[in-house]
Symmetry: C2
Subunit: 288 residues, 2 copies
């Protein structure tokens, strides 16, 4: 009955952290039946209290009935899925993930499941864990999928429909291009933002430190937000997207060196011109 | 009559950009009479339309009646004030500024006026110019002043009362310590954020660029906000706080190099530990 009315049938969500928990909340409020799988018993108990899914278990067999399964797992687990999980993924189900790198995940999963669709919702906060799920996380966010020539087209359509139900804007891209792009606009920002925090931390034992805390305002808060995010995710991004990130760091270092040179030379007109260009570029990215 | 009821009498605001215009709007709504001085005729006309002050002129003589005058001018003009302006500042008036560097401004102005109080409201947006004034900009922001042993204590008290009227939290600090602190939490962020934008701009003519724009989300928006700000202000910060900024850049470069090394060595546990430390530090800065 259910499957006739709803294209997705029972939806499985593997992992009930920020992404998985938020998916569970939204999907239930859209009227879908959600089966949540989580590793640890304590997490399952808390997820039940928080009503993150209609049914929650630590036993992968909970996925047997599902026709669409979202792997909301850390990158590390996506790259090295357990046998127990793999054995419980129905061959007929559509499987998608939410990992922030796509080429290595697609490479592994295309061999593991015939109806796997690699995808990445561009949604996040600096929260993680079972307490962090929240409604409307995906609303108006970009949901990018990275199919290749072997991706099942019906499976792809289903995942698109799913993302749009959650209010996301759907785009398709090549997996490698996706990874290069997120290296620059997502992974590199984490590192440069964290490096700013480390620079300030260098004054931790100095007289200046209380004043730094007093004076830090919205500019510092914004610039350091992603550098104060989930350390496991940050390290996983770096380990799974290493080459693109190293290329980004190299270009970034050279620009910081240019800025340093302009300041040492007291070349204020050229520094101002550089800052003028960055102002224009940012307006191009965020026109509103 | 007015001066008996209001400790400030007529308040002069010199410069009607983001800070000056916002001051004018708030002060008028608090019931104060505000005299606004601006350089250019076109700005004065627009400021009158926007009602940024009770009376607006391009003639410095408008300041003659004022008992408190806020110099809401760019750093460059604060460091090199015109004779016309100086001649119209009443000797009895209390004068304060809003410049984001304090040591060089205090050094100049302590010789120019007996009742000068160096101060810096930690409030800003990425807007500038006569159109950018807005209400409640100073609400719940820190307003730091940097008196020295010669600062007139009554003048200092008046500026404190003034900042608190606007809803700011008042703190006092040594001018040099202030400048070192803002180099780290305000000026360095502008440069590292701008460098991220320049890194992305390096792909402007590549196929990747449209995808970068598609995928850029809140993390990139936050990390690049201050790097897309006012170029004149950014260059002025660097030119007036050069040594502290260069010291910050040097430490920052060394941390970026450390991160690069960890990634090249694929030392994910240490990278994760570094990111864990920055997460803890950020929570210390922004606990709420």
């Amino acid at each position: 009955m259910e499957q006739k009315e709803q294209p997705f049938g029972v939806i499985g969500v593997v992992g009930l952290g920020l992404i998985g928990g938020s998916l569970g909340l939204d999907l239930q409020s859209l009227g879908f039946k959600v089966h949540g799988l989580t590793h640890r018993k304590e997490t399952a108990e808390r997820a039940i209290e928080l009503e993150l899914a209609s049914k929650i278990s630590t036993n992968p067999s909970i996925l047997t009935d599902c026709s669409l399964i979202i792997l909301a797992l850390p990158i590390k687990e996506l790259l090295d899925p357990t046998k127990e999980l793999l054995n419980c993924l129905p061959q007929k189900a559509v499987i998608t993930d939410v990992g922030s790198v796509k080429e290595p995940i697609l490479k592994i999963w295309k061999k593991l499941h015939p109806r796997f669709v690699a995808s990445h919702p561009m949604a996040g906060t600096n929260k993680s864990g079972v307490e962090s799920g929240r409604r409307n996380l995906f609303q108006n966010r970009t949901w990018v999928c990275t199919p290749d020539e072997n991706t099942n087209q019906n499976a792809l359509k289903l995942v698109k429909l799913f993302a749009e139900k959650l209010g996301s804007r759907w785009i398709q891209a090549d997996a490698r291009a996706h990874d290069e792009a997120v290296a620059l606009i997502s992974h590199l920002p984490v590192l440069i933002s964290a490096a700013l925090l480390k620079t300030v931390e260098g004054n931790k034992d100095q007289d200046l430190f209380p004043l730094l805390k007093e004076l830090a305002s919205s500019g510092f808060a914004d610039t350091t937000r992603v550098g104060g995010g989930n350390p496991t995710l940050g390290a996983a991004m770096a380990s799974s997207n290493t080459n693109a990130i190293l290329k980004g760091i190299k270009n970034y270092q050279s620009i910081i060196n240019d800025f340093e040179k302009l300041i040492k030379e007291e070349n204020w007109p050229d520094l101002k011109e550089q800052l003028n260009q960055t102002k224009i570029l940012r307006e191009e990215f965020f026109s509103s």
